[in-house]
């Protein structure tokens, strides 16, 4: 079973040289740490930055320089700042190659729910609805089951949707799955996890064809 770092490491393998990538809050943020150094990858922060660098050293924080999670960050050579209209303009026009974000539920048709739980205080969707509605390629980083042991990979989302038919790939603590017209297709098992365990944790349509390899994350 993967921990959060493991999920982040596995997702990092999906990033290709030359990609512009938008990372959501939580596990997706960790992905930045595992992008191979030799790769040219530019991180977009939707509040208005291309070329997000690491956190600043203590004492070098700049209140004017934050990411979409409101964390203090730095820039890199080649960075650029722009306003939020242009930022979401480049998102809508599909200039961002890959969007990685968390989810509460994903349906086997690619629907995603990650912004609202009825009865709980709603904080808002932020930029998530814009991102999922436009991104060419969306990878979801999530837990396969919730704390009650119930599957979060469903035939249909129960929670209010963030976007429809948009998720392309899911990486959980148990598995890597593609979203296909026929449902979730199991691609890889987490180390030590059996196909049976994944079957039991997946409520949506699950396609298992041939031998399912164990993933390598290093």
């Amino acid at each position: 079973m993967l921990d959060k770092v493991g999920i982040a490491k596995r997702i990092a393998k999906e990033i290709k040289d030359g990609y512009y990538v938008n990372l959501g809050i939580g596990i997706p943020t960790l992905v930045a740490n595992y992008i191979p150094e030799h790769m040219n990858v530019v991180l977009q922060s939707e509040n208005g930055l291309l070329g997000m660098g690491p956190f600043p050293f203590e004492g070098e924080e700049d209140a004017d320089l934050i990411n979409a999670g409101k964390q203090t960050i730095t820039t890199l050579p080649g960075s650029s700042f722009f306003d939020s209209a242009m930022s979401f303009g480049m998102i809508r026009s599909r200039k961002v190659d890959l969007t990685i974000l968390g989810a509460m539920e994903v349906a086997d048709n690619g629907d995603i729910a990650n912004w609202k739980i009825p009865g709980k205080m709603v904080k808002g969707m932020g930029g998530a609805m814009d991102l999922v509605a436009s991104a060419k390629n969306i990878i979801v980083a999530m837990q396969h089951v919730n704390k009650a042991g119930e599957s979060k990979l469903l035939p249909k989302c129960d929670l209010p949707l963030t976007g429809v038919r948009c998720v392309k790939k899911i990486v959980t603590e148990l598995a890597v799955l593609d979203v296909t017209p026929q449902g979730f297709r199991l691609l890889e098992r987490a180390p030590g996890i059996s196909v049976e365990q994944i079957k039991n944790a997946t409520l949506g349509r699950l396609i298992i064809e041939g031998e399912i390899p164990e993933m390598s994350i290093d």
């Binding site: 509040n47 203590e58 209140a63 306003d83 809508r92 969707m125 209010p160 429809v164």
Partner: protein, 235 residues
């Protein structure tokens, strides 16, 4: 042109109860601190505020929530604010949540004289309820969009790094965020700047917001520029 006013009190003096105000900033970054303080001091009430976030309990728009000056918030994300949550749950505060890109683009539409725009954000979700949808071909595939209307705000209040008496503005780093679009979108736009320089001191190629959009400008003072999530790495 000289649009300079003395301070925040003078800049906001004609803002009355029940108007709609846009406030620039993302989180606590690039927010018009001086004007928010002046609005709290003036005690104007019943405001509809269009702002991506609602500040925190003791800073930003949170200060106006504490004094119950806000009737309605139009935002994309309103976490990190306990008083906000209390007023929302008690029904004292009305909230309209819209996608961040939709918020930005509805400001742009107002500033660019476009009555409506089309965006795919929110299609198939509760954001789409009651909205007109329309299909267009995108890269050879039919895709559905929502029609979203330009904002109509009585005032826009923005914060810039540098400005001149013409109202020309330059923003710094990610403190730019929503400020340029809101600057264009207000019927009356007020700009507070960290540094007001003479006309001609700003390079005309580097101005983010041309002065034509700005009605009043002043040099602010005592900027706190609070950091919401101080994240650092070890040396």
């Amino acid at each position: 042109m000289n649009k300079t006013v003395a301070n925040a009190d003078e800049a906001i003096k004609d803002i009355q109860d029940n108007v709609t105000i846009m406030l620039g900033g993302f989180g606590l970054c690039g927010i018009p601190e001086n004007c928010i303080s002046a609005l709290v001091k003036k005690g104007v009430k019943g405001l509809t505020c269009i702002s991506n976030n609602a500040g925190v309990d003791d800073f930003g728009i949170g200060l106006m929530l504490k004094t119950r000056q806000v009737k309605k918030m139009i935002s994309s994300y309103v976490g990190e604010n306990a008083e906000f949550e209390r007023q929302l749950l008690s029904g004292e505060l009305e909230v309209e949540l819209i996608p961040q890109g939709t918020l930005a683009t509805r400001c742009l539409a107002a500033g660019y004289g476009m009555p409506a725009i089309f965006t795919p954000a929110g299609v198939g979700t509760e954001v789409a309820i009651g909205k007109e949808t329309r299909k267009f071909m995108v890269e050879g595939v039919e895709k559905e969009f929502l029609m979203e209307m330009a904002f109509d705000a009585d005032f826009a209040i923005v914060k810039a790094w540098k400005g001149d008496p013409h109202g020309n503005l330059i923003f710094r780093e990610t403190a730019r965020n929503f400020n340029p679009m809101m600057a264009m979108a207000g019927k009356i736009t007020i700009a507070e700047v960290e540094e007001l320089v003479p006309a001609g001191a700003l390079d005309p190629d580097q101005i983010h917001t041309p002065g034509i959009y700005i009605h009043r400008i002043f040099q602010g003072s005592n900027y706190e520029k609070r950091i919401e999530q101080r994240t650092v790495r070890k040396l």
